[in-house]
Symmetry: C3
Subunit: 206 residues, 3 copies
């Protein structure tokens, strides 16, 4: 029997997550939790079952949940929801698309999702509550802390380390061995050859 799963956040990123969860075929999505009563009643055939205020009650019935809110500018919403789920003793599974590849020598934290076409290589360590988005590459020996979003088609080369709450934009390339601090934002398409301090924004185009 499939395990019942709650999704927290019903935007565009959630649609990608649903596709991955359905392809994995291990969970039954029993509904979506929205931040507020926002008049959306369903998403890709799944019902909106409540808002954040109903979360404790919903988890009584379905104690397994994953956060499906996207993350571009700030990780704060995803961190707040993660802490709420931990306080409520929810179980946060790791979701891996059957169309991704994750080395058996890699470690992936709770609540992290590997979307279609992503690749996590040997000896990589990925923290909790991360998004490894479609076609993103996490190479050998990379360390990614909690609450990071590695966006579509980003390439994180061997031995890179990334501090918690950071965002790596679509199609960026991080040179091997580079260290990126916490809550850094790397814009789409950037080529990062040097270490990036905490809370930096790397954006060469406007």
């Amino acid at each position: 029997m499939k395990k019942r799963l709650l999704l927290l956040g019903g935007g565009g990123h959630c649609r990608s997550c649903i596709d991955t969860i359905e392809a994995q075929d291990a969970y039954e999505i029993c509904g979506i939790v929205q931040p507020k009563n926002d008049c959306i009643h369903e998403l890709l055939d799944y019902p909106v079952v409540g808002c954040d205020d109903d979360l404790l009650e919903l988890l009584n019935e379905t104690p397994t949940a994953i956060i499906t809110v996207g993350q571009i500018k700030t990780p704060d919403i995803r961190i707040r929801l993660f802490n709420l789920l931990k306080r409520y003793k929810a179980e946060l599974p790791v979701i891996k698309s059957p169309f991704s590849y994750c080395s058996r020598r890699a470690v992936v934290g709770e609540g992290t999702i590997l979307l279609h076409g992503s690749l996590v290589n040997s000896n990589a360590e990925i923290g909790a509550n991360c998004i490894i988005n479609s076609m993103a590459l996490v190479e050998h020996d990379v360390k990614i802390a909690n609450h990071c979003h590695i966006a579509t088609g980003a390439r994180v080369n061997g031995g890179v380390s990334i501090g918690q709450g950071s965002f790596l934009g679509s199609g960026c390339v991080i040179r091997e061995g580079v260290r990126i601090g916490e809550r850094a934002v790397i814009a789409a398409g950037e080529i990062v050859l040097q270490d990036i301090p905490t809370r930096s924004v790397v954006r060469s185009r406007t």
Copy 2:
């Protein structure tokens, strides 16, 4: 029994198409139609069976065809052939590489080919006669009109819309939600962060 299939256009892109069609193993390629009598007699073991002037006669025998001419600067040749095939009541199948991924929630129009390693995510809508080339990414909720070529390794992020006859070059990145008009040309490697009007050329390198 495999369905017989005609290919229109025998250049380099056709070689990629043949590889995908052979891998899919649903069609028997019965020959290639060249624009003129150009002295090429075969391509990857398949015979050239005629030129565009012979098309109506060839379709009598093999009513299923796909356009395998490439598209870089202009979609005009592919549009002309598409209109010809429709006038002649040909059937244009959708070709999906078994080494691509296409969400069951995506819609793909007739005569469109998804080459190896491409990925079409949830809720995407792709029109007719498009090329989704090797390792191209079409994310959730993207809308692509007819006669577009998304080149190798391009990344089209969530919710982007692309007007008909547009070309997105190899390795380009289109930011989520951007609108690209008709017959736009995005050069290889461009990072597109803003809407692009119809018939624009985006090229920052020469």
Copy 3:
């Protein structure tokens, strides 16, 4: 029974190679050969069985070997090891990840490895002792000479030719038909639209 295999070079790239060799499940890795006695005794559970000076003796027992040293600035170490292996009559297999795609119409030389997520399309020809790294794309009709490294996520478009000993950095894009000379170095993320002479360095960022 699996064939025994020696690995020459135990750095980070070797960890990616091990992941690919294990996934392919055709070889039993019987040990790693290090350049000198460098006090590393194992790598991902495999023993270091000797240094380069022991190579002839080690090959007597295990005549099949592959070079797992990385290649960034210069191909010289990999070329020296390759020549040594050839002089000692070693057998150099082609290693293809089961999570890569290689067209049956492509030709790949001895000692070359296709890592996870890489794609080699129709009619491509790749020489000996090359690295086609994770998620690298080698399109139809590309010719790559011996001792090249196509780094992670690089996209080499149709009909490109690359001279021996060249390095194409992570995420670079090479326009279709471009000719790259011998021992060229293309930095990460470069977009190459024109021919590149032998021994050139293409680097627009510092």
